[in-house]
Point group: C2
Chain length 237, copies 2
């Protein structure tokens, strides 16, 4: 099997897993929690899991894979750097909107903010992501960025990119856990420990997110899917 | 700064973070939850977080770094493969003991098992770890293992090694979240949302575990800390 075909045989299931994550998180919010609104009610909170999974996991995970797609290797790297930065900006905006949804809902119902471990890890993830985006723009897209800065930044950018995806996964799994304890043990009559349909469904969403992130890490770890550096790209970018 | 000195400047803080994780998780169980016992009571449960953090995070994290230590590069690789496998076996045994602690406690108090997302992710982590250990033994330590099997296994072993560490982190953070909801909102008079001393302490433990795992990933991502392959080690190992 050629490397290009092998890539697609791995990437298409990865894409399907990402779409399944989106489908599951949207269905969870709409079927068990009443759907969506932006009015400070619990329906506004429902945007939080959907926007975080969409931005921090699915879009982010696809954006990190842009340079691994073999059909891009013969095209200008600068074009794909812009695509990478554009997708990452969209992912960051969705995440910030997801944070606004939960903070607004908390303010409206006077629920305390930022006390849980989920919120501590989650806020670190988004701050690190914003920092990484600005640093990436300054280092790899601005033509005036000095060469030593670029070459020192590249390994840090790669490590931080993986760290953000790990933190996103951790935030999602702890967030689903927290949400299920609130909605099942706190509100509905069916305790989490009796594993009602909602619990089974949301646990499966968690497993889908885990699978998606691990497949992304699998694709990243394969050396033969790294974009080959051509001669005119010998400067670190 | 020489690569060797730079390695130690990074590894020593990593080691300190790991020891702090152990100290924090032990203090949490002993100060707020009454200490340890092996009698089916809540004091037996207290072994669960301590053994999982010790085995799946701190010992595992250090065992994956064995080949990155510059002083080992001039010594026989086989010796360090045995050290790696030995540390991993100890980490696996601690994790299995940690699982026994919680299953035994559940059975003794007739609490349902395996319903939460934390338990689903956690059990996947330990099963994957056991599978990885047996596969690693068969592929890299048994002299009769065929060469093509070794060379195909190596990238899978590296990817699965990272995947297990990511899953361990995810299990720990969701486990701390679950534990705090039980012990604060369920038992004591101080809700989690008022951020009492125990919540601040256990959240900090979570952040320490995150920091430890991200530093381990940082060390793994540095190419110049990879053990150089000598000529007589050209066969994949």
């Amino acid at each position: 099997m050629s490397p290009s075909v092998f890539f697609w045989v791995t990437y298409v299931p990865c894409l399907c897993l990402g779409l399944l994550c989106l489908l599951f998180v949207s269905f969870w919010s709409s079927h068990w929690h009443g759907g969506f609104s932006w009015d400070g009610s619990a329906l506004q909170f429902n945007w939080h899991p959907v926007l975080m999974v969409a931005g921090l996991v699915v879009l982010y995970g696809n954006a990190v894979l842009v340079f691994r797609m073999p059909f891009t290797w013969k095209q200008k790297k600068n074009t794909w750097k812009l695509v990478h930065a554009g997708l990452m900006l969209l992912a960051l905006l969705l995440s910030v909107l997801g944070l606004c949804a939960v903070f607004d809902y908390h303010r409206s119902l006077q629920i305390p903010d930022m006390y849980s471990l989920h919120s501590w890890v989650g806020i670190c993830t988004v701050i690190m992501f914003a920092f990484q985006w600005v640093l990436g723009l300054a280092g790899f897209l601005l033509p005036c960025s000095p060469l030593p800065f670029r070459s020192n930044l590249k390994p840090v950018h790669i490590w931080m990119g993986k760290a953000i995806l790990i933190l996103s996964l951790t935030s999602c799994i702890s967030g689903i856990t927290e949400n299920l304890f609130f909605s099942l043990d706190g509100v509905s009559g069916e305790p989490y420990s009796s594993l009602p349909a909602e619990a089974k469904f949301a646990n499966s969403l968690g497993i889908l997110i885990v699978a998606f992130v691990l497949v992304v890490f699998g694709i990243l770890s394969k050396n033969s899917w790294q974009r080959p550096e051509s001669e005119n790209e010998s400067i670190p970018s």
